[in-house]
């Protein structure tokens, strides 16, 4: 192996994740999640459900997310989920998932395709009312859906009333970050 001394950058191009507080709202880039998409192959729904259950991996229904250790999951479409695990232990996430699902599902690593922002604080729903068309006020905790923020397709995950995460395309990380901060400044 060549002797490299390369430093990984976060999605915002920094060495360390960017954390910012806007009027009491914490906006934090979270580089600590490994992601993979799971798409059920045709007619294998029951197999995938059984395999996930035996691996302790909860696959949520439409518009919902599940939180667990190490696996969290987000419903992204019919028979499709985005699976998440800690980056430190699951950097090679597909090699952890492939033995679980075998040929019943298609798995694709997604880690470096996304940027994740965690937001925490009061008035979060007011901020997101300015950002997207999702009705987060009506959404129950552990709900999540794909929508548009500033013309960028994103997943919005409502973990609690004062805790929301946004997954967006990594190449638009700075634009999305700017949108979140601008909305927080104007709403709070």
């Amino acid at each position: 192996m060549p002797d490299h001394h390369l430093k990984p950058h976060t999605a915002l191009g920094q060495v360390a994740a960017v954390t910012q507080t806007v009027h009491g709202l914490l906006i934090r880039e979270n580089p600590n999640s490994a992601l993979a998409s799971l798409a059920t192959r045709r007619g294998r729904d029951a197999d995938v459900a059984r395999m996930a259950e035996s691996a302790g991996l909860a696959l949520p229904g439409p518009g919902q997310i599940s939180q667990g250790t190490p696996w969290s999951a987000l419903w992204i479409g019919p028979e499709q989920w985005l699976l998440e695990a800690p980056f430190a232990s699951h950097e090679d996430i597909v090699s952890h998932l492939a033995p679980i699902f075998g040929d019943a599902a298609s798995l694709t690593e997604q880690t470096d395709a996304w940027v994740r922002f965690d937001l925490q604080g009061q008035g979060l729903v007011d901020v997101f009312e300015r950002l997207c068309a999702l009705n987060l006020r009506a959404m129950a905790d552990l709900g999540g859906a794909r929508t548009v923020i500033e013309h960028i397709g994103v997943f919005v995950l409502k973990l609690a009333e004062d805790q929301i995460s946004v997954l967006g395309p990594r190449s638009s990380a700075a634009s999305l970050h700017h949108a979140l901060i601008t909305a927080a400044k104007s709403a709070l």
Binding site: P62, G63, G77, P78, Q80, A133, R146, T147, V148, G153
Partner: protein, 98 residues
């Protein structure tokens, strides 16, 4: 306009893109003897009703599913929303049993 997605509930129309008449699901059999005529009709001839219209919508900024939306072209009232794959599979099952 709000489209009541069968899986996700009411969603804003800006998340969707429109394709056209839901009859596009019924592609003619290319092996039929009159295939050329049938494909001409399939590709170029469209009904243009003033009233209820079944049409294909794509939830592009959502779960990326195709929907068959029944919409009144005069009032924009949406009376029915189904997953296109359910419509297609039901038509296939009906065709096979007939």
């Amino acid at each position: 306009m709000i489209i009541n997605h069968p899986l996700l509930g009411p969603r804003d129309a800006q998340e969707f893109t429109y394709l056209g008449d839901a009859n596009l699901l019924n592609r003619p059999n290319p092996d039929a003897p009159d295939a050329a005529e049938r494909f001409y009709e399939y590709l170029y001839l469209r009904d243009n009703p003033a009233g209820l219209h079944r049409e294909l919508w794509y939830h592009e900024q959502g779960d990326r599913s195709w929907l068959v939306v029944t919409r009144n072209t005069l009032t924009h009232e949406i009376t029915k929303v189904e997953l296109a794959r359910d419509v297609a599979r039901a038509a296939q099952a009906a065709g096979e049993s007939a």
